[in-house]
């Protein structure tokens, strides 16, 4: 048992010291993946998994790093999807502009919701996001002239980038890969900056953070907007990719599943988020039995996880600290 633990610790240190290289190699492998495997099935799973990684990263920034819990984030995903779908179908906009519009509209809604609610402490955000998700769904359901209500929007145009129509699965795969890597970089940069430290400080103790000169409300709103924006982009992509959207996709159940993906891998851990979202997307897709009982199993999984390790599998594992501690101890040995 202790041997296993030492081995784990050693692997942990090794991974932590080379995490950048590992990330780089992973991206390279993902870039080469379609060259090796072009089956529609695997590419679809890979694309969806990457989209969920993007979503889980956005939620982890909010919940894992800032300690705010939203169970209505599917609403922002939906707002992004509807924005892109309507603009692409009715106005014939290209994918790039659609995604930017999705980001802006979702971010705007995030701001409108965040501005008043994030001044309050505690469980309010969770309840309000739940209500917000339902209200947005009802608007999508009832605003027939814009969203076609329960019929949904079908035949959304294929992604159109700078006038080139991208119909092949491989091209869509690469777009998603690009978006995911971009999201990963953005979230990583924010977390490892002055702002990131302030955000984590707010999670740890908001009162102490404000005593250190941190404008708690401002940062909470900022994180909420960033997170909503990322969700919007993911939604815009989803609309182009799946080409048919309807209101019931974007309900609270979806929000819950997304949140579980973010928590499972590890709150406050980017590698954890990526691994968690991948596992929770790929397994139900590939194992039939899991797909059928997916939500039931998710429910059990999350309860067991809370009992064993409430912060998720890789939660509380801070690669940066492991690395620094290792180098410090090495320097100490020499000196």
């Amino acid at each position: 048992m202790s041997a296993l633990r030492t081995a784990l610790k050693k692997t942990g240190i090794m991974v932590a010291c080379h995490i950048n290289k590992i990330a780089f190699v992973s991206v390279l492998l993902l870039l080469m993946f379609p060259l090796v495997n072009q089956s529609a099935y695997t590419l679809r799973i890979a694309t969806v998994a990457m989209m969920y990684i993007m979503i889980a990263l956005s939620l982890n920034l909010l919940t894992g790093f800032c300690g705010l819990m939203s169970i209505g984030h599917a609403a922002f995903w939906g707002i992004g999807a509807y924005t892109a779908a309507i603009l692409a179908k009715n106005l014939g906009w290209g994918m790039g502009t659609c995604l930017i519009a999705s980001a802006l509209v979702s971010g705007f809604f995030g701001m409108m919701l965040g501005l008043p609610v994030l001044k309050l402490k505690g469980y309010y955000l969770t309840i309000v996001t739940l209500g917000f998700c339902e209200i947005i769904r009802m608007v999508e359901l009832n605003w027939m002239s814009l969203t076609r209500g329960p019929l949904g929007i079908n035949n959304i145009p294929y992604p159109n980038l700078f006038g080139i129509v991208l119909k092949s699965r491989v091209e869509i795969y690469y777009i998603m890969l690009g978006l995911m890597v971009l999201t990963g970089l953005v979230v990583h940069s924010i977390v490892h900056s002055r702002i990131g430290k302030a955000i984590v400080a707010i999670r740890e103790d908001d009162l102490a953070a404000s005593a250190m000169g941190i404008n708690v409300t401002l940062y909470k709103i900022m994180v909420f907007i960033i997170s909503a924006t990322i969700m919007g982009v993911a939604g815009g992509f989803y609309a182009h990719y799946i080409r048919y959207i309807e209101p019931s996709i974007f309900n609270t159940g979806t929000s819950m599943n997304m949140l579980i993906m973010a928590i499972f891998g590890g709150l406050g851990s980017i590698p954890g988020t990526i691994i968690g979202a991948t596992i929770l997307t790929v397994l139900p897709e590939t194992i039939r039995f899991l797909a059928e009982y997916r939500n039931l199993i998710y429910g059990f999984l999350i309860i067991v996880l809370m009992l064993i390790k409430p912060s998720g599998v890789l939660g509380d594992v801070n690669m940066e600290y492991i690395k620094k501690r290792y180098y410090a101890s090495k320097a100490g040995d020499k000196g």
Partner: protein, 292 residues
């Protein structure tokens, strides 16, 4: 017309109060929003229906079985999830997520067992309509209102006059001090969960009988509305939940009649958001000073 709508609103509202009490009681003792409460409400209705189909004949027996069953589910929720979290001093978020996990399990269990289609529900409380002046009211409404108010009265008596009720109040104020006074707080918390789940089950059956149909999505919307009721009255305050439930029922019924029925659910959510924005401590709540 208006009188009938008001009575209708109060009847539905009184059921909301029963569920809202569940949220408020649990929040009172644990400072935790129990997201599974709406699912337990639904489970109560389905469980009663299932035993009614299986055992037949005596609906009231099945009703009692359903309520007891939900009480046990509430107990398990605490026993196998939250109690252990308390023991390990897990972060607050973990408790919230656990109740959501429980809600997922119950919802999907119902879905797998009963399917997603709307089911007819037996009505045992329809004794015709009673005429008062030139308006008439159905016995359904009177029975529901009567049962709900009686239960609320009973619960108030339990909370404010008995020893166990006092222990509950103490636990809500300061759990550690209560423990030191030799009170088994885990037992009190379990009691709270059992009571709140049983109340939710009663509410589920009453609403099922009232509308004579039941479907899987109603758990979520009632859960939301009752959460709104609890917040409106002031979370953690028993009379607040009662009044909040009645108000939400009234707003909803009147809103559906005089504004638009398509958005009737949205009215409750809109009230919820407005309350949180303008008076987060609720109608009956007091502003708290946060201790440094």
């Amino acid at each position: 017309m208006l009188f009938e709508q008001i009575l209708n609103g109060l009847a539905i509202g009184s059921v909301y109060s029963l569920v809202a009490i569940g949220y408020t009681m649990v929040f009172g003792v644990l400072k935790l929003v129990n997201f599974a409460n709406g699912s337990v409400y639904l489970l109560g209705a389905y469980f009663t229906l299932m035993t009614y189909f299986a055992l037949g004949r005596n609906f009231w027996l099945c009703f009692i079985l359903g309520v007891i069953g939900c009480g046990i589910v509430g107990f398990c929720l605490d026993q196998f999830g939250l109690k252990r979290l308390r023991a390990t001093n897990a972060p607050r978020l973990a408790g919230l997520i656990t109740t959501m996990g429980m809600a997922m399990i119950i919802d999907n269990f119902i879905l797998l067992f009963f399917g997603s289609e709307t089911k007819p529900y037996p009505n045992m409380i329809n004794f015709g309509r009673i005429r008062i002046g030139n308006s008439s009211i159905s016995s359904n409404q009177i029975v529901i209102l009567g049962v709900a108010l009686a239960l609320m009265l009973l619960l108030s008596l339990l909370t404010y006059t008995t020893k166990i009720g006092k222990a509950m109040q103490c636990t809500a104020q300061n759990i550690n001090a209560t423990k030191l006074m030799g009170i088994n707080t885990n037992l009190i918390i379990s009691m709270t969960f059992i009571l709140s789940s049983a109340l939710a089950a009663v509410a589920g059956v009453l609403v099922g009988m009232y509308y004579q149909t039941i479907d899987i999505t109603s758990g979520f919307s009632v859960g939301m509305k009752t959460m709104a009721s609890a917040v409106l009255g002031g979370v953690g305050i028993l009379p607040g939940a009662m009044v909040g439930g009645l108000l939400i029922g009234l707003f909803e019924t009147l809103g559906a009649t005089y504004v638009s029925s398509g958005y009737s659910n949205a009215i409750a959510f809109a009230i919820l958001i407005l309350v949180i924005l303008f008076k987060p401590e609720g109608l009956f709540g007091k502003k708290t000073i946060n201790k440094v």
